[in-house]
Assembly symmetry: D2
Homo-oligomer: 248 residues x 4
């Protein structure tokens, strides 16, 4: 039995990749490709079981509400899911226990695994820093993923009762030691020829542990999207973050 | 309350490090330092609760038996624990349910975490290879840690139903593609200036994930030994592998 | 004054990139785009000063002969230039001292610089090994660039009178220590998600030096091609290898 | 014929290493070991040809003057050689054309080669950044070597007429983009388990080039010291920087 998938935002850059990936998956079947100016109402007629939504913050809530009300599971990559929006979705789901939604800010398995491993390792090392490296067209520094990773590390350090990382620096040029995100140092490199890369460095007496993720192509999100589709079939309620559907 | 620790092999290279580390730990107290020509019988008189054993395959079984019989918990780093030896220890412990033994082939937290993370990541990537890099004085290639990591990856790949890693090589110089350990390629670099290093590389469409461990000093084993001492206080029976006492 | 450039093989993958790159260069002007079924005789009419040839081993010699005879300088990326072919070109150029030809097996500046730096560093380190990492669709192992780099290192080691690299390996799995190219160990990794990468590792007492080149796109050849065009304007005779026109 | 070497500061940490290294070198012979409270006048009696000076900024000028006046060549690793001090030494050497002095701020071959290669590569890449990584006990950030490397890169970029490195960052946390040294971004990581490491990253369209140096031990300075001793035998006048005696 194949999973019947509808793709919202089907002609966007991500949506188009999703269409290709779903078509290539032996256990899935694409039953609807819906773009900006088309109605989601067709989804029920074609019997969509799962919807993948890479649309726009302006329309994603309407899409989601429709899917929840019609018992179509959703995998959402559209950005802008504030805690308020997540609460709204939780409210809808409370009224509809048979529905299920998976929202993921990042579908790159390597990024998700990196964050998870960083969180697990953090409690065991006195030192932790992050270097993220991106193409020079990126507007923000540090990257959202790096900032989120830093928060996860900081949380793990706190709950393990670790002291501040050792650092005897007494004389530093402005900026040399990077940005502080929740007490974790983050360094942002911007270099022609790069795409999106991150290194998390942990250090203790006589050893270091480095977790590096290199992402070259948005195709790298597709295994995560397919994994999300397969997982949401068996999950009701709201799940935030792909890490929660990985076998870890 | 501090943990009363006895060190066996106390004047060996590892044992001496253990003595230092235990002395520096605020929650431990060293109550015995016993070396090759000294008797373990003193351990009971001084009230040792946990013994750390970095001795020799020839004497470790006698040490262990004594500790099990006298309800002293053991953390063992001595090598040579074949499945047969492990079974023997399990037999002793079956008769003494209040006793506890932790045997670990590797106390470097970074190595243990690397192996664990490699095992967790393996199911998500079509490709996996290992590069291990050591000083040129090392006799075996690949390293034991690399071979063990390869086996863990291979096991995870098999249980996830993964195909063989893609590889279109049709023309290769002998040795170029490394050694095969359970169908995982392992490459061994030997270079002056190196100590002990390992990179596990995973690759999928458009992304790679790399887990690297650098070990510069046997001091790097000490946090793992202390962690083992703290853990074995609360564990009866036989535990093999430090990964089983980490919070993962 | 702009350089008047003709592109041979203009509709091939590399040729098309060259056309774009020449058009974007402020100091060049494209005056001819000639493909497989078109004649090179137009080059004289349009006043081409330099030709860039990414065609095919079957036609490149005819192209080159025509350019040498008509005093058009050439930058050649087409493969297959055996020493015999190079001698033939040298013969033509001997009769035509005003002509100039640059043949380069590799236009990626990073690859050319890596090889040059590796050659320069080699005499100073007892140990040297190469790790090359490519996508799993590659047919040969090691890569041509890695094999060439190994030869350059071996040559530098020999002329500096270095002994064999230290290596105490007595027990190795088949292939673990890589392939031997002129006595230099080369390891070939094939991994989904990779493109074309190379690490040259040098090691001595207490230190290592690593030169890494990552190539993600054939666009990376274009700065080297443009540099070749600018250089060949001022060079008569045959030049083999882009390293000879770099300022090093 | 062996080179007769005297070591000044012979019981200091560096001096003691120098003594060992000179003794182990087949083409050298140690003829004097002089420490803080001993006189350099013995050097002439024992027929020292070359002196290696790892002493202190307070005494090094007196040592040097003595050696210049007595035609003993000097290899100097003592710090604090300001341009003024160098001018003073040049003045002495002007009066003594047969004398020779080599002053080097860094004897680690890998560091010297890294800097040289960085300088050579810089003109070919639109982007360049430096990451230096050290143990957490280091007081200054960035390291002196990183700052010097940045200056060399900046100089090469300027003379090649390169524009500023591309960087679209519009929103950055304070410090995220590192420190600016002569318009080159430098990032300083401080991590337990590290010793002294540096990565210079260059990037252009579709490719990156990375030069990494890892230094684990002050033994890594010895090959550079020996190379300096051999070189200064054949060099009169003042030489500043080991790069000037390397075959590059």
């Amino acid at each position: 039995m194949t999973i019947r998938v509808g793709v919202l935002g089907a002609r966007g850059r991500m949506g188009a990749e999703v269409c290709q990936a779903v078509e290539a998956a032996p256990d899935m079947e694409i039953v609807a490709r819906i773009d900006a100016d088309e109605s989601v109402h067709d989804l029920t007629q074609v019997g969509a079981e799962v919807v993948v939504d890479f649309t726009h913050p302006d329309v994603v809530m309407d899409n989601l509400r429709f899917c929840v009300e019609h018992d179509i599971r959703s995998v959402v990559g559209t950005s802008g899911f504030t805690p308020e929006r997540q609460d709204t979705v939780r409210g809808w789901l409370a009224d509809r226990p048979s529905a299920g939604v998976l929202i993921a800010p990042n579908f790159a398995l390597g990024a998700v695994l990196s964050m998870k491993f960083a969180q697990l390792a953090a409690r065991y090392y006195p030192s932790a820093e992050i270097i993220e490296l991106h193409h020079p067209g990126k507007a923000d520094a540090p990257s959202g993923t790096a900032a989120h990773t830093a928060s996860l590390i900081a949380g793990a350090r706190t709950s393990a009762g670790l002291d501040k990382a050792p650092d005897a620096t007494t004389s530093a040029l402005d900026g040399a030691r990077g940005a502080l995100v929740d007490d974790v140092r983050v360094h942002s490199v911007r270099l022609a020829g790069l795409v999106a890369h991150q290194e998390v460095l942990f250090g203790g007496e006589g050893e270091t542990l480095t977790i590096r993720h290199d992402s070259l192509d948005r195709k790298s999100f597709m295994p995560g999207v397919l994994l999300g589709v397969r997982a949401v079939v068996d999950r009701t309620g709201l799940t935030v973050g792909l890490e929660n559907v990985l076998t870890l």
